[in-house]
Amino acid sequence: MRFRIGSVVVGLALAVSMTAVALAQADDDTPAVDDAVPVDTTAVAPVTDQSAPPMLFLHLADPAEEDVEVPLGTAQLTVRGVTLPGAVVSVDGYLAVIDDQGGFVVLTPLDEGANEIEVVASDGQGNQVTTTLFVVRGD
């Protein structure tokens, strides 16, 4: 009987240790939530395979909202963001210059009235991420 109880105790100890490991893994896998910046097309999954290429993302810091209203006197919009280093970014169809960290700043002309400006990022695998800005220039 003593040995039987001992075996059960060993099994339960194993359960406790495995539960602790599982809890630690669950904590590590929980992604951080950032509500501060709404214009974000990032879809970054936890990296489990070190050999897998990093996932393409596009994050606009300025403007921070998709819907923007500017005065009639504002003829250009500054679009500032960050993407995967090495990715290609275009703003309204024009190539952006990307720095080593994936940052870019582009001045794009605005027409009077509503402007639909597509910011597109792509990588060498053909993956593509798009954010569309709706900018109204006028009163």
């Binding site: 009987m1 003593r2 040995f3 039987r4 109880i5 075996s7 059960v8 105790v9 060993v10 099994g11 339960l12 194993l14 359960a15 406790v16 495995m18 539960t19 599982a22 809890l23 669950a26 896998d29 929980t30 998709e66 819907d67 923007v68 209203e69 290609v88 275009s90 309204d92 169809g93 024009y94 190539l95 210059v97 002309p109 027409d111 009077e112 009235g113 509503a114 402007n115 639909e116 597509e118 597109v120 792509s122 990588d123 060498g124 695998q125 053909g126 593509q128 709706f134 109204v136 006028g138 009163d139």
Partner: protein, 221 residues
């Protein structure tokens, strides 16, 4: 105290009991967070934000156009779901040059709207917070209108040079090909690369608009 003689079968049963308990605990621990995360994601996807006092502009697709004489329509938006918009009318303002973009235009009355129109609406949220009062309504070009920028990622399969300029044919990953013309305005990157570097077999990303490349990026081999 009386001791029971341990048999091999007894040890085996005890081991099964302990091991089974551990598996149940681990499965519950792993499944709990996953199920909770799924429920959170589903709830977030199904619950659009509500328009509020700080909402001054919306964009979306007209779901139901106003009936004759009416000034109210329903706008389907990604962020706020379906929004009821009232538009009493406005005097359209003049427009500048479109610089190659398909142009948007302003509406004078809600009666000019039709279902499926893509619009940007400026205004404010109504006092009761249930609808949006439009000051101006801008109709955007159709989604498939020419002038949309595209990124073509592939390998140059042919280069044709003529007096009018150079035409690149790009073989894409799916095996199809697309042709784009290169002009003197086309930017070639990285810095220092020229049209001479755009040879058959080179991997490139072409940023094009209206069939003309605004930029070509030579990718690492």
């Amino acid at each position: 105290m009386r001791h029971t003689q341990l048999t091999f079968g007894g040890r085996l049963r005890a081991a099964f009991i302990g091991g089974g308990a551990s598996l149940v605990l681990v499965a519950a621990t792993l499944a709990g967070p996953v199920l909770a995360a799924d429920q959170t994601t589903a709830a977030a996807a199904q619950t659009p934000e509500a328009i509020g006092p700080h909402t001054h502009q919306l964009h979306g697709i007209v779901k139901t156009a106003p009936s004759a004489g009416a000034t109210t329509f329903t706008l389907t938006t990604v962020r706020f779901g379906d929004v009821t918009v009232s538009f009493a009318g406005a005097t359209p303002r003049g427009r500048g040059h479109a610089r190659g973009r398909a142009r948007s235009f302003q509406l004078a009355t809600a009666a000019d709207l039709k279902a499926g129109d893509r619009v940007v609406v400026q205004g404010r949220t109504s006092a009761d917070g249930k609808s949006f009062v439009a000051r101006r309504v801008h109709v955007l070009p159709a989604k498939d209108a020419p002038g949309k920028p595209t990124h073509l990622v592939g390998t140059i399969s042919s280069v044709a040079t003529a007096s009018a300029g150079t035409t690149l044919t790009i073989r894409l990953a799916d095996g199809t090909t697309q042709s784009v013309s290169i002009s003197s305005e086309t930017k070639i990157r990285p810095e220092g690369k020229t049209v001479a570097d755009l040879s058959v077999g080179t991997r490139v990303t072409v940023v094009s608009k209206n069939g003309t490349a605004s930029g070509v990026v030579v990718l690492p081999a």
